[in-house]
């Protein structure tokens, strides 16, 4: 009999956590519906989107391109080491490009985006809530979801595939500098094998679809965490951490699912 009470308490605790998670998921989905509902007003005021494209997309471009360069260079070094053992070092270009376009471009860009732009979005929205700016908008008869969140969401959605493309392109160049410039792989083989093997639909379009999904998910998580943050300095700080952690986990998990769907069969 004594053993039943702690078990019931434990079950009760588990149930409470489950309900809380479901409640949060519900709120997050309602927010997403609200954000999508603001698309009409965004079309009327494209200036709001352009301003967010600058802060969410353009200002993330530097970190993304620098990272892409280094990732491409490392891929060439590691790839050359393995490929040369099998006498296939001429295929280095294919290996670098396929790895970047199909996987590393969308995934690493999304992780960098979550750290750079996602955390900034969460902190910005959380602080707007803490300083009553969102309430102020409501009392001025302006819908804060339409005016503040919708432009940021679509800026994230549009920026991510562009940033991932830049990451992959610069990565391919980084691989070229190391592979052809330093390791002596044939210049013509590097490009021609890449052009012959990388497929527009199979590789590039699928990579773009991945980055669109990651863009939507990372921006949604960042905006929701900011909007739902406890309006205190501690609350905003926790929300920012949660946004980055949840985005990273979501990107890695979704990458597996999308890869299985796109290339698994």
């Amino acid at each position: 009999m004594n053993g039943v009470a702690p078990m019931l308490g434990w079950l009760e605790q588990l149930g409470r956590i489950g309900l809380r998670v479901i409640e949060r998921l519900g709120r997050a989905h309602l927010l997403l519906v609200g954000i999508a509902g603001g698309l009409g007003s965004l079309i009327v005021r494209p200036g709001l989107l352009v301003r967010q494209l600058l802060s969410v997309g353009v200002l993330s471009a530097l970190i993304v391109t620098v990272s892409g360069l280094f990732v491409g260079m490392v891929l060439a070094l590691q790839g050359y080491y393995v490929l040369s053992k099998f006498g296939a070092s001429e295929s280095l270009g294919v290996m670098v490009a396929a790895s970047l376009v199909r996987e590393l471009g969308p995934v690493v860009t999304a992780l960098l985006f979550a750290g750079r732009a996602g955390s900034a979005l969460t902190a910005e929205i959380g602080l707007m809530k803490a300083t009553e700016q969102l309430s102020g908008l409501e009392m001025m008869a302006v819908n804060p979801v339409n005016r503040v969140l919708t432009p940021r969401f679509f800026a994230g959605l549009i920026s991510m595939p562009l940033l991932a493309s830049m990451f992959s392109a610069v990565g391919v160049l980084g691989g070229y500098f190391v592979g052809v410039g330093l390791l002596g792989v044939d210049d013509g083989a590097y490009w021609s094998q890449m052009r012959a093997t990388i497929d527009l639909h199979e590789d590039i379009y699928n990579g773009v679809i991945k980055s669109l999904v990651f863009g939507a998910v990372c921006t949604w998580i960042a905006l929701y965490q900011g909007y739902d943050a406890t309006p205190t300095s501690e609350g905003v700080s926790r929300a920012t951490t949660r946004a980055v952690v949840h985005s990273a986990l979501a990107v890695l998990g979704l990458d597996f699912v999308l890869t299985a769907l796109m290339f698994g069969g």
Partner: protein, 278 residues
Amino acid sequence: MTSRSSADKDPLVKIRGLRFSRGDRVIFDGVDIDIPRGKVTAIMGPSGTGKTTLLKLIGGQLRPDAGTVEVDGQNVHALSTRELYKLRTRMGMLFQSGALLTDLSVFDNVAYPLREHTKLPAAMIRKLVLMKLEAVGLRGARDLMPAELSGGMARRVALARGIALDPMMIMYDEPFTGQDPISMGVLVQLIRRLNDASNMTSVIVSHDVAETAQISDLVYIISNGKVTGRGTPKTLESSGSAWVRQFLEGLPDGPVSFHYPAPPLAQDIQGAPARDAP
């Protein structure tokens, strides 16, 4: 003519049987309040009595558990979102922090509601914004960013923004908190002057007794979820209620105990320390 004068006599805000709670904590337990048109009405009470919550209930940002809140004859919580937003264009609100949009200049903050809700040409908006800023004495600060303003200046800019659309009423959430004597004096005068000049209805939520009583026509005192006092500042000064006297005179002990509820000191000191250990 008769209906017009009777409408004028009707209170602008009519609150009946208002009940509101957060979790297990009851904030309002059957509150009735009338806010007359064209007057300055103060809602006073100690910190944590839900004064700001009351403003949010009037503005439709929160929904009561029971009771009704009518503004200009419209039941705020029965309105559709579109109707509520339309009503809010006729209500101004001055938040405790000012709630200015930090990425916009002073000018753009004041122009914001005009750009959102009117189709006025830019030249007309400029004139209106400069007039509103002149009214709060900050026309010269129009190019500053909110981060460059003092607390008092930020509230004055927020006040200019609140009156940009010439609302029928304006609600002030703790307008005097944390102000130096000069800023406080400026705000006190501004609130009264704006109310009289524009024939607005003003609702001030505050616990700064002297400053608020100085400019109020009617005062409500709220405590423990109920209205404990109502009247002009003069009638409340001579109130027989021990609670009202304690609040107005700022006495440390009385019906509101100095001590937060706790077991007797001796019992607490001799009790097991393990529970309090970090």
